[in-house]
Amino acid sequence: MKKKTFNFHRRQFLKATGAASAVLGGTGIGLFGIRSGKDPMTYSGTESLQGMTQNFNRSKYEVDTPTYKKVGETSRIDARTEVIFARMPRFGQQWDDEKGLDSLDPILKKYYQDHPEDLELDLHLRKEIFPKMRQDKKKYGDEFILAEAWSNAMGAVWPRGYNKPPEETDFPHPKYGRKQPLELESPEMTAKLIKKMGHEFGSTLVGICKLNPEWVYKHPMRGRGFDTEAPLDVPSHWEYAIVVGTPMEWDAFYANPNYGTSHDSYAKSRIVAYRMAAFIKELGYAARAHTPGTDYDLVVPPILIDAGIGEQGRHSVVITPELGSNFRPAIITTNIPMAVDKPIDFGVQDFCKTCKICAEQCPSGAITMGDKENIKGYKRYALNVSKCHNFWYSNLGNIGCRLCVAVCPYSRKSNWLHKTALQVTANDPTGITHSTLTEMQKRFYPAPDVKDYYIPSLGGKNASYRKPPWWLRTRDFIKLKKEQS
């Protein structure tokens, strides 16, 4: 009898403990989820130096040919006109309403004659958008005081760019530098060393490829002046490209427009690239850093693809497995012999075919909803750079827009949920998960109406994709005078 009672108690006790454990365990899983969602360690690699977050097993997805396709005759990019950051300042300085096209230098004039649609958009920026933006800035600009201050501070440490051509800047100092390059053990060991150094210098991503001369601008700007007629012969010492990349601060980027620009990541990648160039020169080899904001002699996305960093998305930005497109790259051209990486294919091309979220949510309509086109001999999605650029000035705060990066399903935080989704899509040949996840993205993560992103004078509501982080909300910290607010 006694034994039975004990048995009864034991069973009851175990059942009650089991029930309590189930409740506790379930609660624990929920709390684990909340913690993963909040965890700053998952802010897409911001925390990571030393390569700890370049943790995607790329070898499984390596391919022999890049994920872009050559479909016709190719031509190198003329940076003087085709790179909007080179074209617009000159257009701004030279344009005269009365003289029209005749007010422009022959290179610009020819470009606009060939591309009247760009002239229309660039004039629209000058005549319509700028005045309205200035007017709205006076009215609503105070909201962005902290964002602008943060962004400018992040860009305050900024290694000075080159003002001489590659032949003069890329080699070790003629007087104090090493006279002969050091003899290296093997290309494999050098690649290993360079990657480790890249991470040590502060980069989250590092990849290496042979430099395809087609990616070098025809008329590079730096150290040569804009008006040089002779196309640049690609310097023979630009044999390899080392790619580095660092993420943008998550909360500011995810809020946009325009709570902070990409200056944080620009500056970090720039510093890493100049450190890498200095390191290589110390070993006696040639190196040149090509860095954000606009100090490039090369077109960047295909080099990132060649180096196995990621694939180009519909929004024209490269998507990486670790950071999505939430990063800013820099490149170092060099002649130090290294083993190179292979391109990767982790399913982005298939995903972008049907996803189109960036195109739907781009306020300026710059991203195509259509199929890939033949652009300068390569099949890729078209991006109307002038439309995109015009939107950069159609919102307040520091100029810019990163909405297409923020809304892309690949740019989610690096927690277990989004990383699992990435692995599933990368390994699904049927495309079923692609459409399921795209649909979920659209229904689970709502976005404002695209018109609302514009300033009020242009018909918008100064909307942001997500609320700005607490530390960028000006009114919580600064007493604004009446006339300021």
Partner: protein, 103 residues
């Protein structure tokens, strides 16, 4: 690293899981249900899915994505409840071997 991302957390989760499984076994026995391997399999699958749903909702709350949390609760939560009913009914099916051994 916070407690909820630590090894200690998962160690405790493991212990809670074992205790819950033991309690469940006794409870089912008291209801006259013998848990065969496939029934354990079903229960494990259900627990894994429900754990996923709870963690999904948690992540979304943590990320401040309230619509994602609500949609996950609604869609996946409903699936978990329906699955619970189905699993419950299947657990009470008379297992062939069990039935035979009793006769």
């Amino acid at each position: 690293m916070s407690f909820f991302n630590s090894g200690t957390f998962w160690f405790i989760e493991g212990i809670l899981c074992c205790l819950a499984a033991t309690g469940f076994k006794y409870w089912m026995e008291d209801r006259g249900v013998k848990l065969t391997w496939w029934k354990w399999g079903l229960v494990t699958l259900w627990i894994a899915f429900t754990g996923f749903v709870l963690a999904f909702i948690g992540v979304s709350i943590g990320e401040n994505e309230m619509q994602a949390a609500q949609m996950a609760a609604l869609i996946f939560g409903l699936i978990a409840v329906i699955a619970a009913v189905i699993v419950w009914r299947l657990l009470h099916l008379k297992d062939k071997n069990t039935a035979n051994s009793k006769t």
